[in-house]
């Protein structure tokens, strides 16, 4: 037990002064002095991550631009805050490995590995134990756009470990889907990920961004099944026309979070008129010209009939990291 004025004044004063009313007066004064001392001590220690508490660590982390992992122990996070700009950290910010270090520490053992891949197919990887790797020239044709002048684009990949709790939701109609109701804590595309997790990843590219200057993080790809299909040039949109039917363009075993809002902004393609479209349950539908409903029920059960006074030029779509409500 640390020595405090409350305990020591009994040894420094005569008995008549630390008993009875004297004890009450001196005890009160000692308590006040102890409070001032504790405040000064904690204020001093707040700037030392290894000595301070969670609330100060959070503020230090915000200040130093270092995210705390989802399940990261206090001591581990404190050590990373101390090393915030040496030997790696912000000193190497702008490199793929510096970004992967932040991503890997956030997700911890939930990952098999994290990776970045740019438009040229240059891949950098990092496993949870910090092992780094790279290889160049992977066939990666996201949307068919040529590398020049669209060279400054890259993607982030999370290869999810089995047992991490991050997995695909069930089928449409499954009562367990989104825990049975729309709520702000579930994300649309996968279990075990909250909107806060998604926001944490997006924040890596804002302000003191963990990316090279002049580049743009496009999508975060969540690899749920370990497969490694290559994009075929149609993944810039969620869908494509296949023989007259609109079908998903991206691999169904992966999930996609928009890291830049503009990548999920859609205006419609006037050159495409699908006869049928795939619906949520996997069936197809082509519309019924004999039916013109005046209103429709939205997912939150509200009724909407459209507004003829507005004709939006484009719309932001949801992504797999969007909250369900």
């Amino acid at each position: 037990m640390a020595t405090t004025f409350q305990t020591i004044f009994r040894f420094l004063t005569p008995s008549w002064l630390h008993t009875g009313e004297g004890e009450k007066v001196l005890g009160s004064l000692a308590l006040t002095v102890d409070a001032f001392l504790e405040r000064a001590l904690q204020g001093l220690e707040a700037r030392f991550p290894s000595r301070t508490g969670d609330s100060a660590l959070k503020l230090t982390g915000l200040d130093r631009g270092i995210l705390r992992g989802r399940t990261e122990p206090r001591d581990h996070y404190a050590a990373r805050l101390i090393a915030w700009r040496y030997p790696r950290g912000h000193r190497t910010r702008g490199s793929a490995f510096a970004l992967l270090d932040q991503v890997g520490n956030y997700w911890g053992d939930a990952l098999v590995y994290a990776l970045t891949i740019d438009i040229r197919g240059d891949v950098h990887t990092r496993t949870p134990d910090g092992t780094e790797g790279y290889f160049y020239g992977f066939a990666f044709n996201w949307d068919g756009a040529p590398a020049t002048p669209n060279w400054g684009r890259f993607w982030l990949g999370l290869n999810i470990a089995a047992g991490s709790g991050i997995a695909a939701w069930g089928n449409f109609g499954d009562p367990a889907l989104w825990h049975g109701e729309l709520n702000p804590d579930d994300t649309i595309g996968q279990t075990g990920v909250t909107p806060s997790d998604v926001r944490a990843m997006v924040r890596l590219f804002e302000g003191r961004a963990w990316k090279p200057a002049g580049t743009r993080a496009e999508w975060l790809i969540v690899n749920l099944d370990g497969a490694s299909p290559s994009p075929d040039g149609t993944w810039g949109r969620w869908s494509k026309n296949s023989g007259g039917t609109q079908v998903a363009s991206r691999y169904a075993g992966w999930r996609f979070w928009a890291l830049s809002p503009t990548v999920n902004l859609q205006a419609g393609d006037s050159s495409n008129f699908p006869t049928l479209s795939t619906l949520v349950d996997g069936s197809t539908y082509g519309g019924d010209p004999a039916s013109f409903p005046l209103t429709t029920t939205l997912p939150d059960e509200s009724i909407y009939g459209g507004d003829p006074a507005t004709f939006p030029a484009s719309v932001y779509l949801v992504d797999d990291g969007s909250p369900t409500l």
């Binding site: 939701w169 419609g268 949801v318």
Partner: protein, 189 residues
């Protein structure tokens, strides 16, 4: 099929595409429409089928009018067919000065748009006006427009609209000003 954002975005993108497809076709079916997504603009060329003329003659049947007198105030009045609702965004009088001007006429042609209530309870109300802005004889004697720009007038009830083109006059004026019609830009918003 496990549910993901793709489950919702595939049919939604299909709807977006079909909407864009419809908009694109509509723009192509209506000449001049759809210059801006969200605001439909229709251009309607109105021949100068005049309801009144003073100092103007008709050439090429009803499809053109030509100034035949330089008396000040020589004009031609043309009724403007109108849609049931919407806006008049802009009107361009399509004109061409006669060749042989030594200099620009002292009073250059002028175009005016008037509105007349359908009960004829009063004289027409001036909505917009513009004078020929040609700066050189060369520009004036070439085909050009007198532009009533940014009118943005919302059509009123069942009122009638008409245009008055007043010809050139004064020093250096001469007959032969050709009015071949009006390009009228309608908008829905």
């Amino acid at each position: 099929v496990t549910v993901s954002a793709s489950s919702f975005n595939v049919p939604f993108e299909a709807l977006l595409d079909r909407t864009a497809w419809l908009h694109d076709r509509m723009a192509k079916l209506v000449p001049g429409a759809g210059a801006t997504l969200g605001a439909v603009t229709v251009v309607h060329v109105v021949p100068p089928q005049h309801i009144y003329q003073n100092g103007f003659g008709v050439i090429n049947g009803p499809f053109a009018a030509q100034q035949s007198s330089t008396t000040p105030g020589s004009n031609v009045i043309v009724a403007l067919p109108r849609p049931p609702s919407g806006k008049i965004l802009e009107i361009q009088a399509l004109v061409k000065g006669a060749s042989g001007h030594g200099a620009l006429p002292a009073t250059k042609p002028k175009c005016e748009l008037y509105r007349q209530d359908y009960l004829m309870t009063g004289s027409g109300t001036l909505v917009a006006t513009a004078t020929d802005s040609s700066a050189t004889v060369g520009a004036y004697e070439a085909g050009h427009v007198i532009d009533l720009f940014a009118i943005n007038h919302t059509l009123v009830g069942q009122d009638f609209y008409y245009l008055i083109l007043t010809g050139e006059s004064g020093a250096n004026s001469q007959t032969g000003l050709l009015l071949s019609g009006f390009a009228v830009y309608w908008g829905d918003v």
